[in-house]
């Protein structure tokens, strides 16, 4: 009897082991989840290889990668080369996305927000829409003397991290006081939190005189009006694919530093400023599996461009994917 049980156990282990080997397992960041999901589907159709990516959040993804519970992990927050080395991980960018300033001002279109205005909206020092800080850059518009409601994410998210990172980059006081975080105790008493992107989108849409940050894909899907944002060169840039691509091309992602960089507020006259790259982590000790993961991303960089664009993400420019290939080759995981 015990023999039978043992055999049954052993064979079931074997079967489950085999099944697990067939699937490339990943977990982590929720920001790029929609585009990874579509890539996975398309990749499976093209090659028959199964990839499984669970959207758990960047922190849990990092934890999973450190604990070797997954074959790859997604994170919106890059890890420094020091941390990567300590935990035996490789890192490279997956896709670039953009965060927009969505607003709800009845009768107002083509709103322009300066860098200072965005910071003061976020920290609560701008209370009314006709505040000089906003009005000065919108001379032709009739802004109402109405209280401004700032909508943010209630849950911890990579979107919040990338937005607060941008704020930290353009404003020193913000950087000192609040920094870049995945969930923040927002200052002021002019703000409300929406649960997930859905919550933020519907609160911006339903609350008159609201403004909030939301990723481009969700803003577009929900028909939210988006503001033009002042970039580093002082130009007001409309959130659109062209401007995101210009930003991605200027991104300073260096393979020597494991691409460790947040690309917010890039240089370039036509770059949209609030952009974010999201990253992939790979455990070092299993090059055979890493090769499978890089093959998937290689395929996606090449064939997934239209998918990414349709979801409001920016496919990585050729110059960057070339760098990633060199990185993979150097690490022996291509």
């Amino acid at each position: 009897m015990t023999k039978v049980i043992k055999i049954a156990l052993a064979s079931s282990l074997l079967v489950s082991g085999l099944a697990a080997n067939d699937v490339i397992k990943g977990s982590g960041a929720s920001f790029p989840y929609s585009v990874y999901q579509k890539w996975i589907k398309a990749y499976n159709k093209a090659t028959g290889i199964k990839v499984d990516y669970i959207s758990k959040g960047s922190s849990k993804g990092i934890k999973d990668a450190k604990a070797r519970q997954v074959d790859f992990a997604g994170t919106d927050k890059p890890l420094s080369p020091k941390v990567l080395k300590k935990h035996g991980l490789y890192q490279f960018p997956g896709v670039v996305g953009a965060i927009t300033m969505g607003y709800n001002l009845p009768g107002v279109k083509n709103l322009k927000l300066s860098r200072a205005a965005i910071v003061s909206i976020a920290n609560g020092s701008t209370k009314y829409w006709d505040d000089a800080l906003i009005a000065n850059t919108n001379k032709g518009l009739k802004l109402p003397h109405e209280k401004l409601t700032f909508v943010h994410r209630a849950d911890g998210s990579g979107t919040t991290f990338n937005f607060t990172y941008y704020l930290s980059k353009v404003d020193k006081t913000w950087r000192h006081k609040y920094g870049a975080k995945k969930s923040l105790n927002w200052p002021g008493n002019h703000h409300i939190g929406g649960n997930k992107n859905t919550g933020v989108a519907s609160l911006i849409k339903q609350t008159p005189f609201a403004v909030g940050y939301i990723d481009y894909a969700d803003a577009q899907k929900n028909g939210i009006v988006m503001a033009s944002v002042e970039n580093r060169a002082g130009n007001y840039i409309k959130p659109e694919l062209k401007a995101f691509q210009a930003a991605a091309a200027k991104a300073d992602l260096n393979p020597k530093k494991d691409f460790y960089s947040v690309i917010a507020d890039p240089k370039g006259a036509n770059s949209y400023p609030i952009v974010a790259a999201t990253f992939i982590l790979l455990p070092k000790e299993n090059p055979a599996m890493d090769k499978k993961v890089t093959a998937f991303y290689d395929w996606s960089y090449k064939n997934g461009q239209e998918i990414a664009k349709s979801l409001g993400f920016v496919p990585l420019p050729k110059s960057l994917t070339d760098k990633i290939h060199t990185y993979w080759e150097a690490k022996g995981i291509q």
Partner: protein
């Protein structure tokens, strides 16, 4: 057979105790780092996830980082590594006062809103309505109880929140919105259990009262309510338990802002919501502070329910 039966029922009963104890222990172990870091002050501290410079080295730290900015505008090390806390120059403080108050207030609003309506429904169904209507409305109420809470959340966000903002002013997502939707959610529980316990009133009692010339209102007030008091309080306790712990619907509606509300239409946060929305991205001390909140909710529900039970039910029996 008799013995086996006894043993099975005994083990089912102990299982509950073991589970309860097990949950409490795991909660406590996970919460321990936060308990040690903040102690009981956690309960009265308003600050959630706020960074304060470490006291002993605060001067040097600030100077250092100032220099760094002047020296290098594009310093990439500003990426604060929350997942790598060893070289943090600041300490993050977590305090639970806001979520605790938010939980209590939203539950209170829900109870105040739901209780009179539930009593009305129950009296109507048990005493006033005809059999057919009573059956039909009763079914509708049970269906309402079966609606998953996420649906209440979405409905509340898309349709109820704008309505509240139009009627009462203030923000769409607020303590009031969350409390009222919570009220709608616990309403069917209260109404159904109250109706059932009212139905247990012996007809003889009611008939004798009517025979003495009592009106319908007097019968309800003096016969049915006193008789079914225990059941009614039981229904309120059940509803209270659900309201305290409700997560998904409230997460969409309370606004998730870590500040005490000045007005009833201000956004705030409750314990289950704080746990649900932050858990995905929490790590280190933040994660264990969430467990600490969970522990407090556990103790709080336990205390509130046992207080209600002992206090009211004892008096009800006397």
């Amino acid at each position: 057979m008799e013995k086996l039966f006894q043993k099975i029922s005994l083990s089912s009963a102990t299982l509950v105790l073991v589970l309860l104890l097990g949950i409490f222990t795991t909660l406590f172990i996970s919460a321990k780092p936060a308990v040690e870091a903040f102690g009981l002050q956690f309960i009265t501290d308003q600050r959630w996830n706020q960074e304060i410079p470490l006291i002993e080295s605060s001067d040097t730290v600030i100077e250092d980082s100032d220099d760094a900015i002047i020296a290098d505008e594009d310093d990439e090390d500003m990426i604060l590594d929350e997942d790598d806390e060893e070289d943090a120059a600041t300490k993050t403080v977590f305090g639970g006062l806001v979520p605790i108050i938010g939980t209590l207030l939203s539950t209170l609003i829900a109870l105040l809103f739901a209780m009179p309506i539930a009593m009305g429904i129950a009296v109507f169904l048990a005493e006033i309505a005809s059999k057919n209507i009573s059956k039909f409305v009763g079914m509708a109420i049970e269906l309402l109880a079966a609606i998953p809470s996420i649906i209440f959340g979405m409905w509340g966000l898309y349709y109820f929140a704008p309505l509240i903002a139009d009627t009462f002013g203030g923000y769409q997502v607020s303590l009031l919105t969350a409390g009222l939707v919570l009220g709608v959610m616990i309403l069917p529980f209260m109404a159904a259990v109250t109706r059932d316990s009212m139905n247990t009133t012996p007809d003889v009692l009611k008939e004798s009262a009517y025979a003495l010339g009592a009106t319908k209102f007097e019968v309800v007030k003096d016969i049915i309510f006193p008789y079914s008091k225990t059941g009614i309080i039981g229904s309120i306790i059940l509803a209270l338990g659900r309201a305290l712990g409700e997560t998904m619907a409230v997460a969409f509606l309370i606004g998730a802002v870590y500040s005490l509300p000045d007005k009833i239409t201000d956004p705030t946060i409750s314990i289950p919501v704080a746990m649900a929305v932050n858990f995905g991205e929490a790590s280190g001390l933040g994660e264990s502070a969430l467990f600490y909140l969970g522990l407090i909710l556990f103790v709080m529900s336990f205390a509130v329910i046992s207080f209600a039970k002992f206090y009211f039910l004892k008096r009800g029996n006397a």
